[in-house]
Symmetry: C2
Subunit: 292 residues, 2 copies
DNA sequence: TTCAATAGTTCTCAAAAAGAGAATCTTTTG
DNA sequence: CAAAAGATTCTCTTTTTGAGAACTATTGAA
């Protein structure tokens, strides 16, 4: 932010507003005004002026231009943890009231793949047995989902693998049988198809490939599961995924699967949430639909 | 608040604003819209509409009319502690930045009596040796000051007696010699003059009177120390106060003092503050001017 | 019972603030 | 050096806020 020209009367001491804090946090988290304006769906100029307002209210600069990026000042760094805490309390206050009212929204983070295969059944059950919970789905990659939980962007999320963090509670949801998928005619190129950065299957596939010593193989990245399976069905390569991805897939008949072995055989998918989350009972209700 | 007519689209979910929370807290603390509007210096209609806005944002009622007073609903009671915590964090965030900037405001609560006698010297020293601290004085009775500290209305306060509360830090400031004050000619009516509710001297005086077994004596309440001393000088009664109150007082020559004994002899006045206060070093600087 | 005082709400209008979009400036990148 | 990316500034419109007056309901006193 550039210093406000030279308005002699800097009105310091006015009350900070939450919209300013939310904007501030978004700018920090999304590393810039552009990202923040997308996240908060508004235009850049608004973000810019909200930050300027906040800077005026506090009487200090929070960012400084470094090239064409913004950089937190010392005061900005000081404010950030307070902003997070205040916004979290705001959310908790609302949650507390919603819970008391009986009706509340539960924001569920999930990778697209999980949303397509495993989630629908659980959501149906949730609606039937816990109609006071209004689920809202937020899709992102496993990697992004972990920060989304930390961030309180979502109340809980389904992610692959194990989370080693004391701030989270992790409930096992499903175990996916991991398989190597090839064209059903047995002819395929030695190319490993994977999904983009952040996908749980990608990590599993790369780990498997590494242990097999096939690191020199060509890697092919695609953003959708269907895209990957289509290419594999066409004999352009092979992939590693959960078996469930293949069943009922449009290419199912053209694909052959082979179960992985040992520690690659299964991918544990867990439902995680922060352990100070007020919506815990709702989350456990959701988890109950995955109980064995 | 009366239910908003029947605006079909209740816009629930908008961000809570701090001004709303501050207003909400003020209405609760001051037990009504009137008090809150005085405290936040604005008109009643604004308070009323801010509360209605907040109620809309949350989608619930926070108050209900009980006669011509407002009463917190269950949801209001739920919100209150969050509001307090959020507002306190806001204050702390600002403090953190101010401290980092070097300059900061220290709001000092004091009874009028203390402000007149003991405080000026310390403020002078503070200004000389810690010019980065900008002291602001808030006067109220000892009783009110304790809640003001709890409330974060003030950063610290001078109060009589001992505070038994783990949330406070208490630094001894001065010890006042308590004396019984009468007209210098020895003739006075058996009437005890005291200051209004909440005054530290009043409590001391009443405690002494009780132990002397003079509870049947007439009690006369006056709002100012000078008023009390004037009446006592005129022989209308006697009073119990700190000796310092008499020294250099306009009526000094017409008054006789007699030291109290035992546990009545001294009144400890301490500087208290919340132990999570960021301005601790400033407060200790203030206290240092009272060190023995 | 009536009347004044008190507390809260509603309504209206003017002033202030916030948002959208276009234009501008600056740095980075190809 | 041109194009792209990111941030800021400016303008205009819409929305929100606030002050004040009028209104309603309760309380308390004469």
């Amino acid at each position: 932010m550039n210093q406000p020209k030279n308005k002699s009367q800097e009105k310091v001491g006015e009350i900070m507003e939450l919209i300013s804090l939310k904007t501030f946090k978004a700018v920090v988290d999304e590393a810039g005004i552009k990202g923040a304006s997308d996240k908060l769906n508004t235009v850049q100029s608004n973000i810019s002026s909200r930050i300027q307002r906040l800077e005026q209210e506090l009487g200090v600069r929070l960012f400084q231009l470094k090239g064409r990026k913004l950089e937190l000042t010392a005061n900005g760094k000081l404010l950030y943890p307070y902003a997070c805490q205040i916004l979290q309390l705001e959310k908790q206050a609302k949650d507390a009231i919603r819970i008391h009212e009986g009706q509340y929204e539960l924001v569920i983070g999930t990778p697209e793949t999980f949303a397509a295969i495993h989630l629908p059944r659980a959501l149906k059950g949730l609606r039937r047995e816990h109609s006071h919970i209004q689920p809202r789905i937020y899709t992102a990659t496993s990697g992004q989902l972990i920060s989304a939980v930390k961030n309180n962007t979502v109340d809980c999320a389904f992610v692959g693998g194990h989370i080693i963090n004391d701030d989270f509670v992790s409930i096992p949801a499903v175990v996916e049988k991991m398989v190597k998928i090839t064209a059903s005619d047995g002819h395929y190129d030695p190319v490993l198809f994977v999904r983009g950065e952040g996908c749980g299957y990608r990590q599993a596939a790369l780990a498997w490939q590494r242990e097999m010593g096939n690191t020199e193989q060509q890697l092919m990245e695609m953003s959708s599961v269907d895209g990957v399976l289509g290419c594999v069905a066409a004999g352009l390569g092979y992939t590693i995924m959960g078996w469930d991805m293949v069943r009922n897939n449009r290419y199912e008949d053209s694909l052959a699967v082979e179960a992985l072995t040992d520690h690659h055989a299964n991918l544990q998918i867990s439902l995680i949430y922060k352990n100070d989350c007020l919506l815990e009972t709702g989350i456990q209700a959701l988890a109950s639909f995955f109980a064995p």
